[in-house]
């Protein structure tokens, strides 16, 4: 019986290995057109940024009053997406959720792509990017921007460590098994595996480090988005004057993170033929998780708007009217219905938790998450304490220019490019952890 199990185990392990390494083997890569499109979008964005560097932020639609625009909304979105790394490699791992194992690597990759883009986009938003170094030289710890700089770099460091450390055994497998790949890849796998032999002692050290990091990353991940919310709540603006902003941002981020994983799952499983691992059961679990996270976000949404909407105090009341019934109302209600209510309604049913409906719902959630951040940033700036008067008409409205849109799109393309590059280089599903899970299953049937 035990011998049977061992043979079965070996067979399974070999199958896991060959399946999960398949997409790394050399041969014609699928989806090169996708990369060309991404590079094209990035080039257009770079041209737009060149124009912005040359003429100044005047090429954007931002003016006094609406002094932050899509760049900041986009920054908040990317920070939100980056929280997904901690959700899978920490929260679900520490709570010993067995089905989340195949998703840890992809979530860490997405987290790193998103955090890099958040940093890029915040530099794009600066009026004087040439003085970025002043943040380090003249930084004042009182300023929430400095808190954000500290916490983002911390989170990026921990995320890279989490990704890399859990990769070492897999890099060793790549080093041993992938013999016919390009020379630089061979070199990368050999150096990256830092002489991993898979001894019990090495595994023990690895477990200890990844466990410690998984614990550390939770407060850092919560802090990264809470501090981002403080960029708003520490200002003297009626629309942002809320103690609810921290949990509101974090819960929205976790929801968007789950959605981005579902989208990634859908495309990875079809592109790399991994339907067996990213199966419908996994989609169903993710659907349930998304419903839970949506409900939490709904709760904080109600908290965010009910108090001010009930009291209708001064400018804050005007801001609420603008969102509920004014020029932002179509946007606001579409986001709330399609980005928040619809996912809950669709995904509570089993038919809604099939891959295709989930893909559509998740894309709606992501679009909603982006537009929601736009609605958090811009309408509040347009409702200051003293009325906006005695200025040019262009200061009253904010319609992003093509430069802003193309830079924003380029940031998305850049994020996708980083993710695609890493997926093509690394086993997208952690092989050794899958093997371990398989062993656990066989030993404890």
């Amino acid at each position: 019986m035990v011998e049977d199990n061992i043979i079965l185990n070996d067979q399974y392990n070999q199958k896991i290995e060959s399946d999960l390494l398949a997409h790394l083997k050399s041969g014609k890569k699928k989806g090169n057109w996708f990369i060309f499109i991404l590079i094209g979008i990035i080039l257009i964005g770079m041209y737009a940024y060149y124009r912005q560097l040359h003429y100044g932020l005047i090429v954007t639609a931002m003016r006094d009053y609406t002094s932050w625009g899509v760049y900041i909304a986009n920054f908040v979105f990317f920070v939100a997406i980056s929280l997904v790394g901690s959700l899978f490699s920490s929260i679900l791992k520490l709570s010993k959720v067995p089905w989340s194992t195949p998703l840890t690597r992809i979530s860490e990759i997405i987290a790193i792509g998103a955090i890099i883009c958040a940093i890029v986009i915040i530099i794009v938003d600066m009026g004087r990017p040439d003085r970025f170094i002043y943040v380090l030289i003249h930084g004042r710890i009182q300023s929430p921007i400095i808190w954000d700089v500290i916490i983002i770099t911390t989170y990026l460091t921990i995320s890279i460590l989490l990704l890399y450390l859990s990769l070492i055994p897999d890099l060793a497998i790549c080093r041993d098994k992938l013999t016919d790949v390009a020379a630089w890849k061979k070199w990368f796998y050999r150096v990256g595996a830092i002489n991993w032999q898979g001894t019990p002692r090495q595994f023990k050290i690895l477990h200890r480090i990844t466990y410690t990091l998984a614990v550390i990353v939770i407060p850092v991940a919560f802090a990264i988005h809470t501090v981002t919310s403080w960029l708003f709540s520490t200002t003297w603006r009626p629309g942002w004057d809320s103690t609810n902003l921290g949990p509101y941002f974090v819960s929205g981020a976790l929801m968007a993170g789950a959605a981005v994983i579902i989208v990634a799952m859908f495309f990875i499983r079809s592109t790399y033929n991994l339907k067996e691992y990213l199966n419908e059961k996994l989609f169903s679990y993710m659907g349930k998780l998304l419903v839970l996270l949506s409900l939490i976000y709904l709760y904080f949404n109600i908290n965010e708007y009910l108090g001010p909407a009930f009291k209708m105090v001064g400018v804050e009341g005007e801001h609420i009217i603008e969102l509920f019934f004014g020029s932002y109302a179509p946007m606001y209600w579409i986001v709330q219905v399609f980005g928040l209510i619809l996912p809950i309604v669709v995904l509570v049913f089993a038919w809604g938790r099939k891959p295709l409906p989930m893909l559509i719902v998740s894309i709606l959630v992501l679009l909603g998450a982006w537009v929601k951040r736009y609605l958090i940033v811009i309408p509040s700036l347009q409702h200051p304490y003293l009325p906006i008067q005695d200025v040019d008409d262009s200061y009253l409205h904010y319609i992003p220019t093509w430069e802003e849109w193309s830079i924003t799109l380029a940031s998305f393309a850049w994020c996708l490019l980083i993710i695609t590059f890493l997926i093509r280089l690394l086993p997208v599903i952690p092989i050794w952890e899958m093997k371990k899970g398989n062993e656990a299953k066989l030993i404890k049937p």
């Binding site: 002094s67 200002t235 005695d390």
Partner: protein
């Protein structure tokens, strides 16, 4: 006793005005003594550096241009001063002369004025009025709190200034300022005297990608003069002065700050925000002019 105090006060004001006048003449120097000048010409007594008193013709004096001080020095305030402004809303009729003077002095284009005149109406039943708005130079300034690089700072004399050689253009201060006092150089600023040595005290030349705002004209204050908006107001609606000396002037009359605020029920905007502004407003009561909507409300 009370009369005595008032006399003392008057004497003090007189002497301080004299001091101011001597400081102005201090910046003048003798261009060259023309011995053949007419006897009838007005003479000015001057003290030379070696301590002797000389009498020269007024026409032979010329002004030395004021040299603005460096960004580093500009972080220190003028000792012993705490500057305040008082705006009498009953006297403003949106003549916009303050904006013009300010734009001229700070080399501003109409798309980024430091001063805005808002048409305010507290509620439907009360009458509308004009509210000249500049930087409030708060004692608890939100902009200074949030600045990541100390580009904007609070001085001992109450002024909040911006060092545009330090500013990274994150615009956090603009989001933080509840009075929307700040303007940003979205594009390359036009009409700039780029040869002018930069000082946060003059705010010229402006730089693309940096924030700026009303600075209370510290270069004028250093010369014991008042900001340009004060002297340009045709209605005397703007008062400026030193809170420590308890006196403010609108260019034609000098009054005691505490008495003015007490008698006319001075107030500050959004006191509840805890920003402690240094710009006081006197309510728009007993107005000299009926409120008239002006077509000049927006810059062309």
């Amino acid at each position: 006793m009370a009369k005595n105090k008032a006399d003392q006060r008057r004497n003090f004001l007189k002497s301080s005005l004299m001091l101011g006048a001597s400081a102005i003449t201090g910046t003048a120097f003798i261009q060259g003594c023309d011995s053949g000048a007419l006897e009838t010409e007005e003479k000015v007594k001057l003290l030379t550096t070696d301590g002797t008193m000389v009498e020269v013709n007024k026409s032979s004096l010329s002004k030395v241009p004021y040299q603005p001080i460096s960004p580093k020095e500009a972080r220190k305030g003028i000792p012993g001063k705490h500057f305040v402004m008082v705006v009498d809303l009953s006297l403003c009729r949106n003549a916009r002369k303050c904006i013009k003077a300010c734009d001229h002095h700070h080399q501003l284009t109409p798309d980024r004025p430091y001063i805005k005149v808002l048409r305010m109406q507290d509620n439907k039943s009360s009458a509308p009025y004009w509210m000249p708005k500049k930087c409030f130079h708060c004692d608890n300034p939100p902009c200074v709190k949030v600045c990541p690089v100390a580009a904007t700072y609070k001085r001992s004399d109450g002024l909040v200034l911006i060092d545009n050689e330090r500013c990274i253009g994150c615009r956090f201060c603009m989001a933080a300022c509840p009075y929307s006092a700040r303007v940003f150089n979205w594009g390359e600023p036009k009409n700039q005297d780029v040869k002018h040595p930069y000082s946060p005290e003059t705010s010229i030349p402006s730089q693309v990608g940096t924030v700026e705002k009303c600075d209370f004209c510290p270069d004028m204050l250093r010369q014991n003069k008042v900001p340009h908006c004060i002297t340009s107001c045709p209605n005397g609606a703007l008062y400026f002065g030193d809170q420590n000396a308890d006196s403010v002037t609108n260019g034609s009359e000098t009054v005691r700050l505490s008495t003015l605020l007490k008698d006319k029920a001075g107030y500050r905007y959004h006191e509840e925000l805890g920003t402690e502004p240094n710009v006081y407003y006197l309510p728009p009561v007993d107005r000299l002019f009926p409120f008239k909507e002006t077509s000049e409300e927006k810059p062309s």
